[in-house]
Amino acid sequence: MGWLRCYFNTFCLGGAALCWLFFSTLVAAPFLLLCADKTGTRVRKFVFFQSRGIMRFMRWASSGWQVQTAPVPAGSRVIVANHASALDLYTVSLFGFDNVVYVTKEWVFRLPFFGYIMRAAGYIDAGHTTPQEMLSRCQEAVKNGCDIVFFPQGSRKDPQARFKSGAFYLAEQLHLPVVPLAIAGTQQMLPVGQWHIKPARIVLKLFPAVYPQDFTGPLGHLHMAQSVKKQIMSFVNKENNA
């Protein structure tokens, strides 16, 4: 029966999710173009709405579903999460973060259709920006009331990879709290390089914010990255082995 569920997930739910992404964009695109605002806020809100839809399909495809939330500080925040599956991108929406700027790799911007939306939403291409440019783009996003989302492992290939310190350096420079998000189960549901959606138990946990001022010294951001990684990965590894 496992294979039947896998086929149902892939062809019915996966297909429906792709149709949802495609047709909702098709319907919304003219309105977004007509009512475009300079900051891209409307596009980001639309992406939030789309992501909530994807989360619904993901929930149906899962064999278990658990969302653990925590109070988050007001104002802009840097959200950091582990990254092992393409599905991770949509999980941020579950916690009500509806105005977020993702910092992603440059190849994602070359995707037809999605690349256009990402540019319109003001997402930041990490491959083509220097640390200084990144800082000023993020500063601008914070001025527009956005949260900034990073996947500090940079790639889905190694789920245990170290957390690069860029996101934490940025939080330190802009005096923003860091909100860690642990994502467990998406790697089993849709692993890298595969397109079969397997039923898996999904557990998402938002941790209380961590503050840059608690990590002092010239390597404070590096130590914050290590500490947040430890917090996230110990939870993810425990859930994945449960």
């Binding site: 690069k164 951001h221 290590q226």
Partner: protein, 86 residues
């Protein structure tokens, strides 16, 4: 005077501790950017880590862009340590 073996040992120890590399990744021919995945901010962090490890200043008066591999890094630290001891 610190020996080359000590430089290699201390450098690798610092990189393993602060950047979570495994010992087998730290071969002299490993390229810092392409093989070890260090980006521009990591490079700055690495300089601070090595300054703390060896008690020398690496940031001023040197062109760090010429350091491509770990071997280059060992040579660079050896040169600085020699100058420091003069």
């Amino acid at each position: 005077m610190i020996t080359r073996e000590e430089i290699i040992k201390h450098t690798n120890e610092a990189l393993e501790k602060e950047f979570e590399f495994r010992a087998e990744q730290l071969v002299p021919s490993a390229r810092l950017r392409d093989d070890l995945g260090l980006d521009s901010l990591d490079a700055l962090d690495m300089v601070v880590v090595l300054e703390q490890q060896f008690g020398v200043t690496l940031r001023q008066g040197y062109d760090l862009r010429t350091i491509i591999t770990l071997e280059d890094l060992y040579n660079f630290i050896e040169k600085i340590a020699r100058e420091h001891n003069k």
